[in-house]
Symmetry: C3
Subunit: 677 residues, 3 copies
Amino acid sequence: MTQPATAKIPFGGDYNPEQWPQEVWDQDYRLFDAAAVDTVTLGVFDWALIQPAPDVYDFTLLDRIVERAVAEGRQICMATATGAHPAWLARAHPEVTRVDFEGRRHRFGQRHNSCPSSPVFRRLSAELARRVARRYAGQPAVIAWHVGNEYGGACYCELCAAGFRQWLRERYGSLEALNTAWYTTFWAHTFTDWDQIEPPSALTEHWRGPDHTAFQGITLDYRRFMSEAMLANFTAEKAAIRESSPDVPVTTNFMGMYQPIDYHRWAPHLDFASWDNYPPDDTSQVRMALTHDLMRGLKDGQPFWVMEQTPSTTASRDVNPLKRPGLMRLWSWQAVAHGADALLFFQMRASRGACEKYHGAVIGHGGRADTRVFREVAEVGAELERLGGAVLGARTPARVALLFDWDSWWAVEMTDGLSRLVRYQQVVSAYYRALWDVGVDVDVVPVTKDLEGYDVVVAPLLHMLKGDVAARLEAVTARGGSVVTTFLSGRVDEDDNAFLMDVPGPLGRLAGVRVDEWDARGPEVVNPVQLRDGDDEIEVASQLFFEIVIPDTAETIGTYGADFYAGTPAVTRNTFGAGHAWYIGAGLEQAGVSWVMRRVLARHDIELRYPAVRDLETAVRVTPDGSRVLFLLNHRAEAVEVTADRSGIDLLTGLRVVVGDPVEIAARGVMLLREED
Amino acid sequence: MTQPATAKIPFGGDYNPEQWPQEVWDQDYRLFDAAAVDTVTLGVFDWALIQPAPDVYDFTLLDRIVERAVAEGRQICMATATGAHPAWLARAHPEVTRVDFEGRRHRFGQRHNSCPSSPVFRRLSAELARRVARRYAGQPAVIAWHVGNEYGGACYCELCAAGFRQWLRERYGSLEALNTAWYTTFWAHTFTDWDQIEPPSALTEHWRGPDHTAFQGITLDYRRFMSEAMLANFTAEKAAIRESSPDVPVTTNFMGMYQPIDYHRWAPHLDFASWDNYPPDDTSQVRMALTHDLMRGLKDGQPFWVMEQTPSTTASRDVNPLKRPGLMRLWSWQAVAHGADALLFFQMRASRGACEKYHGAVIGHGGRADTRVFREVAEVGAELERLGGAVLGARTPARVALLFDWDSWWAVEMTDGLSRLVRYQQVVSAYYRALWDVGVDVDVVPVTKDLEGYDVVVAPLLHMLKGDVAARLEAVTARGGSVVTTFLSGRVDEDDNAFLMDVPGPLGRLAGVRVDEWDARGPEVVNPVQLRDGDDEIEVASQLFFEIVIPDTAETIGTYGADFYAGTPAVTRNTFGAGHAWYIGAGLEQAGVSWVMRRVLARHDIELRYPAVRDLETAVRVTPDGSRVLFLLNHRAEAVEVTADRSGIDLLTGLRVVVGDPVEIAARGVMLLREED
Amino acid sequence: MTQPATAKIPFGGDYNPEQWPQEVWDQDYRLFDAAAVDTVTLGVFDWALIQPAPDVYDFTLLDRIVERAVAEGRQICMATATGAHPAWLARAHPEVTRVDFEGRRHRFGQRHNSCPSSPVFRRLSAELARRVARRYAGQPAVIAWHVGNEYGGACYCELCAAGFRQWLRERYGSLEALNTAWYTTFWAHTFTDWDQIEPPSALTEHWRGPDHTAFQGITLDYRRFMSEAMLANFTAEKAAIRESSPDVPVTTNFMGMYQPIDYHRWAPHLDFASWDNYPPDDTSQVRMALTHDLMRGLKDGQPFWVMEQTPSTTASRDVNPLKRPGLMRLWSWQAVAHGADALLFFQMRASRGACEKYHGAVIGHGGRADTRVFREVAEVGAELERLGGAVLGARTPARVALLFDWDSWWAVEMTDGLSRLVRYQQVVSAYYRALWDVGVDVDVVPVTKDLEGYDVVVAPLLHMLKGDVAARLEAVTARGGSVVTTFLSGRVDEDDNAFLMDVPGPLGRLAGVRVDEWDARGPEVVNPVQLRDGDDEIEVASQLFFEIVIPDTAETIGTYGADFYAGTPAVTRNTFGAGHAWYIGAGLEQAGVSWVMRRVLARHDIELRYPAVRDLETAVRVTPDGSRVLFLLNHRAEAVEVTADRSGIDLLTGLRVVVGDPVEIAARGVMLLREED
């Protein structure tokens, strides 16, 4: 099953009429009409409403809400209402709440507050999903099921401890295997009974928080277990839905690059991916692009939904700036450019009370249509209507893959002895940005992904090598492709035990180097690296991590300029089979990473789109009927003029562009060029 | 009942002879004589001394202490000894200690450590007060009762939870009303039984501490409840005192702008206000002035006591600098200028051990009179003797009121989605400083205060509008007065629910504007604001919070200079009735606030005193017999010369000043000019 | 008993073959041969291995490990395996784990995790030591017993509470004496039953962590108790060892300037001192020198062992830089120069998993000999072989003593009202550095040390005066010596109660001054101090703490240049008997401290060695046969040339040096000159 079939890109968002009297609903739908809102997400936090007591299910109000939406001709993304449990449940079953990392049993409050291992929670949440689905499965307006909400966090209670032990039994079979995997001979940690194993927390293996653990093995496994325990909550709800609704797609809203949950392990269980896009600031275009591509990669390129974005401000940060004029529109189209087939907001109307009352909303407390925010929303609504179904289901034809791996992320950031300053997202983003800057489409994929179709595979910080990934990377190069990897790659196996060989372990043959030692330094230490490939030469800075690389078969491309390893290689390239393997041993600044990636691309006939135009993003989607739509997104606050390198028609304006023509793209402007020959 | 009737300003402070052998007492009183100390506060921490076991009350030593003070002719401020509970009580009744915000039951230690809801604590503390009062009520030297000590903090135990639920029943009557007030439909928080309600803490609704809550409603109510629970401890002690002492005034020492306790709700229950003045640094003159005025406003202008100040250093900070020479004297007179009718120190003699042994003391460990500190204390003592009763009971004739509101303070700093960087005290202080700088007396009053008598009412960050305050502000303007309010005002009702209307809610009619949206930014973003009123023009910076203001009937006074809202109004003025309502939509720097306030004052015939002389503070008190005493306080480290604008006699030196004369006020010097025609 | 008798300086370190298969052992010993490794520390964390269940002791594998070491001709430092308890123990006896400062009972995890008061832990750890000793006592290769590992931390459980109360009963005899010592009249803390006393923690007397306490007395005593409770663990193991091994010396590895444990109180119970040297950064030479001298001072000058150092990187810091080339060798020789008779590494081979897998190791994951690190280790190994026994047992002939006092350290950093920015180690280091810079050997000794033999005694921050130390310092001066002390000295007695006299208390007679008051300021405040002694004059900065000093018999040497105490003394010198007592009232910068110390030394005929050559360290050791060996250590990254002031032979190269010759010492180079006439 894939994403919901719709006639156009669904537009709308989270809508909570249960908070309002009937006359407000009337106003809402008038405003929805004005903004071309065709889709509402209903019931995300309705557990207490639907089930006000253990034995009472009451759909009176939700029925009215659904009926009204249907009467108004809207599509419904129907939630299972399990985003937060009700107060009576926490009171009746205290074990439904979580025990936190500090060992404290929580009581009723907040949301994302349910222990994933609690049988009571699992039973009641599935039952709620079952009843919601049964009630509305016959309603054709329901085009998708929305399970839970932003799964995340962790629990450390006794139930989770028991679940963890059971999970370990299944994973390892024997304590001997577990002791080997966790390397428990160290510090006398050998376990002689499953019951001796405690969740790794501030009271057991950790200090200074979740990333500082005495034993990486147990902590990694606890994250895997916790990710799966929550997944079991999701799949239980999904199964309950399926009892009455065999055909409507099911999703849950992800949070992009969210460390605690390994979305690659979740993705097969969703019918389609969706995510909530709350970028940290106004200059997050690259981060968002990467995240969209990661979400698209979850289901092998299948389009995803933007389940939430704010029309104006967030509410949870210390400072919550406005999205400047035009940004919401630009970022909405960016999502579509990267594979989004729906654009939904949180929230349709600002709630009166509690912690999200100042979160951006399509309709504010004053209920006006003449606000800047509403006008911009309505503008996008109108454009989506004009566009219709033109890009629905379209795919991205990327020839470059970037490997993204939650295990490596977890391991490299929780490991003692390397550098706490090297951050996975930052390094990955630098390599992604190098490609984004020159207008190359990228698939961000798991390490298990078939790499056959790619000319270039980039694997920054591929810290943990699992399965046959090293062999598959070698195969890329063998057949003439290029592989790029970096410092801190090839260090550990799936259990986070070091390979008993030279660094970079099983990648060493491919890279043609060995790393003798590595020097971690504070941000104040900069080592210049001289990069040279033929006549192409540049000096860039490097920081934080410096590997001392001894080439075997590789040639030296970059050389350290300072410290006792001045003159030794920082960047190498190895010819392996018909292709090249690059090894970046130092924390190069962006200019260095970009130089390397341009050299890599140069070997392949991959088109660079407007590589010299700063912050002009491009993306291509190929529709089911084979049309290519080129998205041009100008992230600058001023207009930019380029020479068209394609002929086509702008799907938003109908403007025809001929190759070689000068084309102006407005400040924060967008074009969707359906290419013509 | 009012403040104690005395012949002169009481001078002295906290005195703990129970820590010392008799020969030290002899030395103490010789030194008290030398410093003209006439008042001692006794017994604040004597619980363990007076009641060493559950069934034993032993006044032997305290009797001797009191007798000696009486024999030495001193006045006594007699404490009820409940500042900290004894170890035996915590051991016998563990529920007497508090459970903290993190959910941890404390055990015996520190002070301010009693659960306010504990029946045992309430019974025993009242009984102790009863017995202390009974024993010393007949003693004429006792001029005031001092209950507890610096009430504050909070408890989250089961007893408090039960008390909270009971308090909520009384407040709301029904769960339906409570659910509406707290907006619990959001996130499925609907309560169906009172017992489901938990104190809002790190284990329930909060994250990142007491100011980050998922539900503002419950957190606000818990603060209100906790403030009242402690008040109930106070009133229980006071009632016990009244059984034997019907006429001696009762107080407790407040802590100025102390966020956790709403002193406006406490004030009616005290016979007179008193507070402990520990300014954060040497440049706190404006903060102290504001706080004195706040304390004076607690009881409608009635004089208050300075119950504690340090003669030299504090002890609790990371760095505890000396009060520079002359500062203690200057600040003592500043207190009197703003309405203090007593000047007491903590502490008369430095204790030998524990955490306040290095806290400043009139008498140090060496027991000397020839220290700088002792000399300065004795100097002030001598001056107070010279002054006699000249300003006792005098009132401040202010025509400007500044609204100070604990609820708004709580709400604006705990609310998500606005700005965590906007701080209530900081904004209020900027408006106060604008008045202080130009020598205008100000009453700092609660929002319930009758505003009839004021020409100008300043209401910065009037975030929460309770009762009829909007109407009363309109009335001020209607009759020709001026009202000034700012960004983030008029947002929520008493339950912290947003008004369902344009911002600034019920203040919109008065302000003549609506706020379309607001932009919060980090401190690095500065937006210049051009202010103009006739020919008076200035450009100032604004920071942190920028409201986008759409004038209705208001005229634009200030205009943003940058960002997408450049050219739109930042400051407006609306003619409403016979007066003006100003709306300051941006976080103006001090120069901007001061410009606005000067324009506001210009419409009224309010005298500005030495507005051009920096850091020369003035204040007027009018004595019961109608004399006006003008205080001149030079906060600069060098002398300042001004031209007298009043004739009068300096009560400290007898110097006669004639209007037009040049008058020099020494560095950190003071004049108390009884005005003459 | 003293340190182990060996033929040369033992070289090797922590070795964990239990983590590896047999073939790795073979490789290890080949590499040990190549590096001249003659000593291995075995079994530090082998509890779970040796005792896999309550009733099972199994030495099979450890026997093989020992046998192999013996067969390979290595010396063994044999651990008692109690560095961490096994999982089964924590599960069976939860009270074996600790309760932390926050009151949280920990569960199994990490290391340093055993409650020192637990009878089960004490019984089982002693039993383990007994069995290990019994098994290997007959093995002549075992040259030392290594008990536990890096004792430290603290526990706050009920067992510790009970132990603390018992310890207090013994210390004070009566509650009255305890109440007096702790000054409990303050804040009604009078204890009327021993059971009322709670360990001082975040739940009782503390706020903002272990250094912020309402009562210094109880916190000081808890640290003393905790230090002794852990010592009791050590002595129990030692006694168990002695049952079968009467003659082999016993130690445990200290951590240098480690605040929680008072090593002076432990030292008499060790046969020899040893410590783990992990300097914070590459410029720690002075800190390390001071720490080596402190360790040498623990046992009255007896040589100590370096039990651990890293050959390359640490693993526990956020950033773990490499030891630059040559540093490991230089620092190894520095240790020997200051009295080390052994040089051991952690770790011989890098573990595959858990949190120290990236900790520096002699042998890395690749098992290579051709790494930089291995080469440098082998180089030092070869030098040690060449040196043989030449400096074993040698003593340092110091004429300057520096007093180091854990009680003063604890007290001055936990006391309210002074300055949280004044740090004991920092001030002590500044005075030590002044001596180090000019090449003067220093004994760092406890305050109880007999001071007869010293010409100069330096006592920075001698905050607490215990026993007869004031009298002994007076005796130093009386007989012509010099005493130097500083601000914040002479403040409190052993119970941390202030002396009831002028500051600096019992030191006042010696110093010839009284301190009227003191001013603490932030680091932004600098007060220039003019120092003058005859024609020798200099102006230096002072910061953080400024005492206002009134000289009695002392002469003024340094004068404040700013603030209201400008012109008053900051540094004084008092002639007392035949000698001088210096009092440094301000936080002088290093240049000022160095100036003072040079003036002090000038009165005595103490040789300054290369005082003008920056970062050329010197040290002398006198061997049992009376030879003097002068160590020259060049801490600079470039060579330095000096003129020899001694004739002698370099023990490392055989080079003969004649007085007056130019001698070049290489960058990070070392000479060991056996002096000749």
